[in-house]
């Protein structure tokens, strides 16, 4: 019953729990109150605070007398409710004495505004084993888009939850209702370990873990059954990884744990120039105005140089590399006396020549454009710095056919999920790959419109779109955050600390998820969407538990989600030898 000793308001009230009943935090409740004209008003809310105390005693030490059986006292058990919905929207307060009930069935649907959702998918399980529906229209861009997940690494399991959401979107049937199933895709960047390279493999631990949880929580059926999701791994997955360093025709993906099924990807040198990828080599390129100018100028020059041909390499007439200093490099000249630029290192050497060496150290005036030597040197120095990481990725020594074969195709027919493994690359090369691929995706969608939704899963947003400073990749991410939803690109971003990510990216996310947070972090303004009691709790959340906030429900809801049905390590893969070995062989043979 609603308490009369505490204020009851339309947004929050306390209620007393009758003896024998039990209410915990996160339980959803419903209250019916009556207006003077007899019409009912229903309040639905979530319990965010529970407490017990001795009633009718004055002193703290009275508890001893009560326990000794001398002092009569009753235990008052009360809970506070944050209202999530008032129906109809008459914001009168509930009356003290109104009966509070657990929200179940239809009440629960109303409490979570499920009736307002035309299409929804399961976003996890509430504490009592009921399903939290998430409004798909706030995910796919119809009314809102983007998902943002915050939490401490390791304990917050951000990536797991992002993958769970993808699994729920793909497999809950929400897509089929609009005939989208075959066109919706996901692009996942794997930034840590080789965790995500086994998404298509069943996890052999899922059954024992889920059975244990089911027993511990006293659920009637397994969590996957409750959610209406199959406990199966991802389907139609392609894995992309950068190749191992080293020249030669054999291109091998640079991964260790997984032996087969990973496709290496490279960009040809000509693509690099034609498609103006140079700025993405400099994540902090706009830090100095002069450097930005040089980058823009060279980008333009390279694009012109690469125009009009489609061989993977570039040819230049005005450069005779000093072969002695480049002994290790395999410089080739073609019939016309032109020099072929076949490797990334040669491209840098060429740029160095054009900027610093030609004309006795003056450089080619058209390339230099009167820029200070120091700036030019800085430019070359930075290129050299990333050479090691980018050389395997950007190459011109392949045949055109092979270059086309290894070009990353994120929207390949028959592929639903693409995992791009960049965890082995250096920070600059990671940004380069993410930036280039996202821009390509964005430009593709700009051309063809939102025929299908692409979900982009990117961890460590704070690295790619930091709050301070500008970078080309941040521009791409901002574009996605601000315009992507109308183009059908949905960013599922995650980061440890939302306070360090560009505000516009976080604030554009319709659905926000918080796992375990550092308590100091939880008090930052980025987390004001959490009520105070939830902020305090964010510090003690267990792995597998998330606070989910969506636009339809004014208060966040605590959910848990099942153990992944896909393997997240090689030793979790349910053994199915034979096929894998065969795949590995084919891979080596380039078949």
């Amino acid at each position: 019953m609603v308490l009369g000793t505490e204020d009851a308001t339309p947004v929050s009230f306390w209620f007393a729990v009758t003896p024998g009943a039990s209410v915990g935090m996160d339980d959803l409740v419903a209250v019916r109150t009556q207006k003077p004209d007899g019409s009912p008003v229903h309040f639905y809310g979530i319990v965010d605070h529970v407490r017990t105390r001795h009633e009718g005693v004055t002193f703290d030490s009275d508890v001893q007398d009560v326990v000794a059986g001398l002092l009569p006292a009753s235990v008052s058990y009360a809970a506070r409710v944050l209202v999530t919905r008032v129906s109809p929207e008459n914001f009168i307060p509930p009356q003290p004495g109104d009966e509070v009930r657990h929200a179940r069935g239809e009440d629960l649907r109303l409490a979570l505004s499920a009736d307002k959702m035309k299409r929804s998918f399961p976003g996890g399980l509430l504490a009592d084993g009921q399903v939290l529906p998430l409004n798909y229209q706030f995910v796919n861009g119809e009314q809102g888009g983007h998902i943002n997940i915050s939490g401490i690494s390791g304990v917050a399991t951000k990536t797991s939850y992002a993958l769970f959401l993808l699994h729920a979107i793909f497999r809950s049937g929400v897509l089929d209702t609009h005939g989208e199933g075959h066109r919706t895709r996901a692009l996942i960047f794997n930034v840590k370990g080789e965790d995500l390279l086994f998404l298509d493999q069943p996890n052999r631990e899922v059954d024992p873990v889920e059975r244990g949880v089911q027993a511990a929580k006293g659920l009637a059926t397994g969590r996957y059954d409750l959610l209406g999701l199959p406990a199966t791994p991802f389907r139609d997955v392609q894995f992309l990884a950068p190749p191992k360093a080293g020249a030669g025709d054999v291109i091998v993906p640079d991964v260790e744990q997984r032996s087969g099924g990973v496709t290496p990807f490279v960009f040809s040198l000509r693509e690099f120039c034609q498609r103006r990828m140079l700025p993405y080599v400099f994540p902090d390129g706009n830090a100095s105005l002069n450097l930005g100018f040089v980058i823009g100028n060279i980008e333009e020059k390279l694009a012109r140089l690469a125009a009009g041909d489609d061989a993977p390499y570039l040819t230049v007439e005005d450069w005779q590399p000093d072969t002695e200093t480049l002994l290790s490099e395999d410089v080739r000249f073609d019939d016309m006396g032109k020099t072929r630029i076949q490797t990334f290192a040669q491209l840098i050497s060429y740029l160095e020549y054009k900027l610093l060496e030609q004309n006795d150290g003056e450089g080619d005036p058209k390339w230099v454009l009167k820029q200070n030597q120091g700036t030019l040197r800085a430019f070359v120095r930075r290129l050299r710095g990333v050479q090691k990481h980018l050389a395997p990725l950007v190459r011109g020594d392949l045949t055109p056919a092979r270059a086309a074969q290894y070009r990353p195709d994120l929207l390949k027919a028959g592929v639903q999920t693409s995992v791009v493994d960049i965890h082995k690359l250096g920070a600059h090369a990671q940004s380069f790959v993410v930036g280039v691929l996202l821009r390509e995706l964005f430009e593709h969608k700009e051309r063809y419109g939102r025929q299908d939704t692409v979900f982009v899963v990117l961890d460590e947003l704070n690295k790619y779109a930091p709050r301070e400073g500008d970078s080309p990749i941040k521009d791409v991410l901002l574009d996605i955050a601000e315009r992507g939803r109308s183009l059908g690109i949905i960013l599922i971003g995650a980061q440890q600390t939302a306070s360090e990510v560009e505000r516009r990216i976080v604030s554009n996310a319709a659905i926000r998820v918080v796992g375990r947070l550092d308590l100091a972090e939880a008090e930052r303004p980025e987390y004001r969407f959490l009520p105070q009691s939830f902020r305090a709790r964010a510090g003690i959340l267990q792995p597998g538990t998330m606070l989910v906030s969506q636009p339809d429900v004014p208060n966040p809801v605590l959910v848990n989600y099942p153990f992944p049905a896909w393997a997240t390590r090689r030793d979790e893969v349910a053994e199915e030898v034979g096929q894998a070995t065969e795949d590995a062989g084919n891979d080596w043979l380039g078949l």
Binding site: F59, S61, V67, G69, L70, L71, P72, A73
Partner: protein, 341 residues
């Protein structure tokens, strides 16, 4: 000259110690040997102890004019009697019993008065029902006295209804003490036969002659005096009485502080001490020491027992806020008279 403090705060009327001389008759019924009796452990068969108290409040004085043209004084009053049920061995939580407010409209004799039912504006807050009761006279204070009488009768009935029977003749001594009622204050009116012990918190009258009063000072906590049979000088009321010390007196207090007088109903003829009375006297020390309050919690400690304080609190609450009741009465009268409130 020696000055020591009365244990109770000055705003308590009369203080704890008055020490007037008693003029009645006292008879040694337990033993002629005047010495402290050591406490005995509480017997296992005594399973329940009830602490009973009552409280009353006059809520409004009224003038009544009935349909026949008669008029007189009256009053809206409320009273509560209630009990705390507890286990002297501490095996159960203490609970409140029967703490319910009763309301009555006491009025001068000769008036025709209907029951009063006050319906609230908000259905959650309950109705107040005043039953008409005729007072003894038309005096202005008669309704208050009537209220007091009704309350005491209810208290008496509750006390005796809860307790074990006390046999008052020599043939019947088998009945055991299983339930004991501790009633706050002195015993009233006639004996209804239950094992009821009255706890008198103050010592306004010094019953003991000066040569015996010294023992009160020397009692150790939990010890008691022998039981005496007492008869008032001017009427026929008889009681068994004894004294118990609940706590050590502080050096600055009167040495009789912490001493409490207990009484039980006694037959008029001082020739028989029922065994239950002796049992009650034996357990009274340890029991009351256990129930005694602490000075930082209660200004009347240790005499105001922990359950009594809790009961008083609950009874006050059961009667409701006096302000709200007065307002309800006013609104009720406004409605009766057809005035917009």
């Amino acid at each position: 000259m020696r000055i020591r403090l009365d244990p109770w705060p000055v705003d308590m009327e009369g203080g704890q110690l008055g020490l007037k001389r008693f003029e009645g008759e006292l008879i040694d019924i337990e033993t002629p040997r005047w010495a402290a009796v050591a406490p005995r452990p509480i017997p296992a068969r005594l399973g329940t102890v009830y602490v009973v108290d009552g409280k009353r409040r006059m809520e409004s004085r009224v003038f009544i004019e009935d349909g026949d043209g008669a008029a007189g004084m009256g009053g809206f009053g409320a009273y509560v009697v209630g009990a705390v049920e507890l286990c002297p061995h501490g095996t159960r939580p203490a609970t409140l019993r029967e703490v319910r407010a009763q309301r009555l409209l006491a009025h001068a004799p000769g008036l025709r008065v209907d029951p009063c039912l006050l319906s609230p504006r908000d259905p959650h807050t309950g109705r107040l029902q005043y039953a008409p009761v005729v007072a003894d006279s038309a005096e202005p204070l008669a309704p208050l006295h009537k209220l007091q009488q009704v309350m005491l009768a209810a208290e008496q009935e509750l006390s005796h209804g809860l307790a074990s029977r006390v046999p008052f003749d020599e043939e019947d001594d088998r009945e055991a003490l299983t339930a004991l009622t501790i009633q706050d204050g002195t015993l009233r009116s006639q004996n209804l036969g239950g094992a009821v012990v009255g706890c008198v918190k103050t010592m306004q009258t010094q019953y003991l002659p000066p040569d015996r009063a010294g023992l009160l000072t020397d009692l150790k906590p939990g010890e008691r005096t022998p039981i005496l049979h007492m008869r008032y000088e001017n009427n026929r009321i008889t009681r068994f009485i004894w004294y118990v010390r609940l706590c050590e007196a502080a050096f600055y207090q009167h040495p009789m502080s912490g001493v409490m007088r207990l009484e039980m109903y006694a037959p008029e003829e001082p020739d028989f001490l029922p065994p239950i009375v002796r049992t009650v006297a034996n357990v009274s020390g340890p029991l009351l020491c256990r129930l005694a309050s602490q000075p930082y919690k209660d200004p009347r400690a240790p005499q105001n027992l922990i359950p009594t304080a809790a009961l008083e609190h609950a009874m006050t609450r059961a009667m409701g806020s006096a302000d709200l009741v007065t307002r309800r009465l006013r609104a009720h009268i406004a409605r009766e008279l057809g005035v917009a409130s």
